[in-house]
């Protein structure tokens, strides 16, 4: 892959729910997006702006409307099902329960994650070598999970489970990492730990990342590129140099200019208080 070619390309990607009914919603409206291999994009927008739908379409939870096209690494994945796309795309959800299996041990969860997108056979899933690797990736979390490999994941706290989910999403080094408001349900301190971990892992593994967040401070502090969504469209897309000079206020102004509406989403503003 040449350097300036995009890792992920979205062309004319739309998604309409409940088409033809009175509740019809256009969650994505003709989105065009190029994600470079070195990008760490933050996505902000109010509830219903289409952020999660964007991630769902990229991850392959459902296909876009006809005419839309998604490529990853130059390969057309528009009709590829979610489990087949998992080879390239991994995801950490808002709810820590979705990213981890509660009734299985930490070791078993990591063993499952290590084979992301590969064919699975009749080899015993964990061995001594795996355990050493697992310990080495859990130590940097600083949560002591490396000594609890045989503990059931259901016994961990939400923050610990989310940190584990992050490790599980990155242990096999997929090309694209999707973070879907992955710290929104954590307390402020765990919130910061998991976010910083995300950044460290992303930088170390040089993973292309798209992070959806409700928190403008986070959107500004992390990543090299900031996008804002509104009514299914990407209305703001700010790159590295300009992004570092931005403030929350600038974002509000940018939103009003781009959308032609007054910024009236208290939920976005209020979330900055606890960041």
């Amino acid at each position: 892959m040449s350097k300036n070619q995009s890792l992920v390309k979205l062309r004319k990607v739309s998604k309409v729910f409940l088409r033809g009914s009175v509740d019809e919603v256009t969650a994505l409206d003709n989105v065009r997006l190029d994600v470079g291999a070195e990008d760490f994009i933050t996505v902000i927008g109010s509830n219903g702006a289409g952020k999660t739908t964007l991630l769902n379409v990229i991850a392959g939870v459902y296909p876009p409307e006809k005419g839309g096209k998604i490529t990853i690494n130059g390969q057309d994945v528009t009709r590829l099902s979610e489990y087949k796309r998992a080879r390239y795309v991994s995801r950490v959800y808002q709810n820590p329960h979705i990213g981890t299996a509660a009734k299985m041990t930490i070791e078993e969860n990591l063993s499952l994650a290590m084979l992301r997108g590969q064919s699975r056979g009749l080899r015993i899933a964990t061995n001594k070598k795996c355990r050493e690797l697992f310990r080495s990736v859990l130590v940097p979390l600083g949560l002591g999970l490396e000594d609890r490999l045989s503990a059931l994941v259901g016994t961990l706290s939400g923050g610990q489970r989310q940190a584990l989910a992050l490790v599980m999403a990155t242990i096999s080094k997929p090309s694209l990492l999707l973070l879907d408001e992955h710290v929104a349900t954590l307390d402020p301190q765990t919130n910061r730990i998991v976010l910083e971990l995300s950044e460290i892992i992303v930088q170390k593994e040089k993973m292309t990342t798209i992070m959806v967040t409700h928190n403008m401070e986070h959107a500004l502090r992390y990543g090299n590129r900031l996008t804002m969504m509104h009514k299914g469209k990407i209305i703001v897309d700010i790159h590295q140099k300009k992004k570092s000079e931005l403030s929350v206020n600038d974002l509000v102004v940018a939103f009003e200019r781009a959308s032609g509406e007054r910024f009236a989403d208290d939920s976005i503003m209020l979330r900055n208080v606890d960041s």
């Binding site: 489990y83 998992a86 979705i98 990213g99 299996a101 009734k103 299985m104 084979l115 992301r116 699975r120």
Partner: protein, 302 residues
């Protein structure tokens, strides 16, 4: 003394044979969280296939193996109905159960087939060792088979596929997110489960000397009863202990039934006793919490 020994050994081999049904039920209900009711049809399917083949002169070992494979096919059908046609798991199982009733009748050509005078795996084992086919021998046969099957399952559930299978029942969305087709794991699990159930059907038919189209009625409740008894009594944690708990639950359940019968309970009431046993086992934790005044979650539908 002979009477007691006989009673215990009958409970033992029945407990182990029906223990394979319990293992099957455990795989679907507990591991995959797939409430599979095919069991009531795949158990007599195993019996029908084994008995019919034996009567037609097929080697009983081969007949038993074919019974196992027939069960796998039944489970395959149920899981395909669910994964490929998107029919609700419960309904897919019920549909196959009903269909299998006719299929079993068609296989046997009538409602029951006797193998009393035919060669069976038990008689042939006795022949190999040059002894009479006693109950004790049947018990030893079952113990060896149980050890082999437990060993294989214990290994399988720890393999890469086995791990994905267990995770499917725990967190389907995560499994798909990790690049595993949950359709595939469901198909493997449900097929394997019904294979074990049909194997038990084939063995029971050979031991009792006949296969009957009605021998599967209530099998799913029996399997569930054994799973629940095993869980309540042995409080297992981890794959190996869970597998032993399933077999253990089946043994305890058989012992219970055996005692009830010896105490003069008419055999016709057996299913009622089974249902009561499950109700009691399920209600005990609720009543305990109620008595202690603990918080109780709302009633679940699944």
């Amino acid at each position: 003394m002979d009477y007691v020994a006989n009673f215990i050994s009958v409970s033992l081999y029945e407990g182990l044979a029906y223990g394979f049904v319990t293992l099957g039920v455990y795989i679907t209900f507990r591991v995959l969280a797939f409430p599979d009711l095919t069991v009531d049809g795949s158990f007599p399917l195993g019996g029908a296939v084994a008995a019919t083949l034996i009567v037609n002169g097929v080697n009983p070992w081969l007949a038993t193996l074919v019974a196992f494979i027939a069960g796998i096919c039944a489970g395959l059908m149920t899981s395909l109905l669910n994964t490929k046609l998107r029919i609700n798991a419960l309904l897919a199982g019920i549909l196959m159960m009903v269909a299998l009733y006719s299929i079993n009748l068609a296989i046997m050509g009538r409602s029951n087939v006797s193998v009393l005078r035919e060669a069976t795996v038990f008689k042939q084992t006795a022949q190999i060792f040059g002894i009479e086919p006693t109950t004790i021998l049947t018990v030893i046969f079952m113990v060896v088979l149980a050890i082999v099957i437990l060993g294989i399952l214990n290994w399988f559930l720890r393999t890469e596929i086995g791990l994905a299978l267990r995770a499917t029942g725990d967190n389907e969305q995560m499994v798909r997110g990790l690049g595993v087709s949950t359709d595939m794991t469901t198909i493997i699990g449900v097929s394997l489960s019904n294979g074990l159930v049909a194997l038990a059907g084939g063995l029971i038919a050979q031991k009792q000397g006949f296969s009957d189209v009605g021998m599967g009625i209530g099998m799913i409740v029996m399997g569930l009863a054994s799973v629940i008894i095993g869980e309540r009594l042995f409080r297992p944690r981890g794959v190996t202990t869970i597998l032993f708990a399933a077999i253990g639950g089946s043994l305890v359940y058989r012992l219970f039934l055996g005692i009830a019968l010896r105490l003069g309970l008419p055999p016709n009431n057996l299913k009622l006793i089974t249902a009561l046993l499950v109700i009691i086992a399920l209600a005990i934790p609720y009543i305990q919490k109620k008595v202690r005044g603990e918080w109780i979650p709302p009633a679940a539908r699944m």
